[in-house]
Symmetry: C2
Subunit: 241 residues, 2 copies
DNA sequence: TAGTGGTCTAGACCACAGC
DNA sequence: CTGTGGTCTAGACCACTAG
């Protein structure tokens, strides 16, 4: 069950993306939207706040809400978005190859990254992402078996996240993302078309559930020439000191 | 003039960072905070929403607000934070060298990035960031002179952002950030201690003011071994389809 | 002056957690 | 059952924009 605010967000976001509301034009005023959707001002403002946070609009005191040029920001590649969701947007030839699916006893590195003990079971999944015929990304995932008891190659080939959220009802809440550059490992060289590149861009992700338990650690290893990370950032409260 | 919610945010954030509220413990309930700060529930909730957005707490229905381990996320390196703010956190030897400060006529590239015409004046600032004696980052900034009429080497050596916000009263609102890997240019080689590296990590930033005008384009070029980008991301509305 | 968004209040009903 | 956070409402006052 979605909230009223989320439904209004969905409608307005869709109308911005399909051009019903054009960039640099104004959205209807809060007063108008209240009448249009027959809700209170608080609800409308919640929806508008979400649109602002996601880079759809800019709100201006005394003026109104201006529609931003969504195309310019070619997001969402930011936030927490799974490869399957991204591939829809890219609407190009993308393919996932499951290289490896193992249940392992974690070494020191995995223990520290996943916050598990040496006797806990951990899934290790290695997948190659092929884009337009080239193997560009190597995703290595570690899942705490406490949260994911069962996993198959078929699930990995499709979308692990969909399985986790829809089948296991795990609710992903937030993640800490880190981007660094690293030398290519033998695994990288084996499963990626690296050509002359001797290094990769690594996106490390620690993913947490709603109850704050850490359940996944992922390394997404990219061929550098194809790597791109796009982010829409509002000046946040931290810097408003 | 700060809002009540922002002041409450500041107090709670400070108390989380200094350990008054410990990781994995609970914040006082909304009811308690209402009594403590003598405000309405909406105001308290606004402050708690901001804390959640910035990764300080996790809110759990029926339970309360849990304090997250801020140290684990070693932010803020995310969002829009200037180098001066970052250097405070790094509390290491950091130094800024102003290589170049020029008023130029923009070429095609700068025209497209800054959305200006060929006869508009544009500032070009090139600065090297030295960390622990090594020249690690090359920042190249382009400012539309419409917004920044006057600029000196002294201002660039200190903090351009402080000057823009406090002196010129420009209010930065949001940015589009893009991270890619690029071959090192002659300028990179001249002004950075690249050693054997033949490539750099480039953070491109388009910065917008509150009235949605684009006023700055920046390339921050990093030596790859020292590059790190950390982000705290909540699963956002876009992916909640 | 009229219209806009920004903030704050007071109260209501709900779903969920835990005893 | 009580206490918690999640959502929604109705109304108020303010600051800013623009004619």
């Amino acid at each position: 069950m979605k909230t009223k605010a989320q439904r209004i967000y969905d409608v307005l976001a869709a109308n911005i993306q399909n051009g019903t509301y054009k960039p640099n034009s104004k959205l209807p005023s809060e007063h108008d939207l209240i009448a249009q959707y027959d809700v209170s001002r608080g609800t409308i403002r919640t929806a508008l706040d979400m649109l602002s946070q996601d880079g759809y609009i800019q709100r201006l005191k005394g003026k109104g809400s201006i529609v931003l040029d969504v195309a310019k920001y070619n997001f969402p590649v930011t936030g927490l978005v799974s490869f399957k969701e991204v591939s829809k947007i890219m609407h190009g030839q993308v393919r996932t190859i499951v290289n490896e699916l193992l249940l392992i006893r974690p070494d020191d590195f995995v223990q520290s990254q996943l916050d598990v003990g040496p006797t806990d079971d951990v899934w290790r999944v290695a997948r190659t992402r092929e884009i337009q015929g080239e193997r560009i990304i190597l995703d290595v995932d570690y899942f705490d078996r406490k949260f994911v008891p069962y996993l198959t190659k078929d699930i990995c080939a499709d979308s692990i996240y969909e399985y986790l959220e829809k089948e296991l009802n795990l609710s992903i809440s937030f993640a800490k993302k880190e981007i660094v550059v690293d030398s290519a490992t033998d695994e990288d060289k084996a499963w990626l078309d690296l050509g002359d590149f001797s290094y990769v861009v690594v996106v490390k992700n620690h993913v947490y559930l709603e109850d704050v338990s850490l359940f996944q650690y992922t390394e997404s290893r990219h061929r550098p020439d194809k790597f791109q990370f796009v982010d829409f950032a509002r000046r946040n409260y931290l810097s408003k000191k």
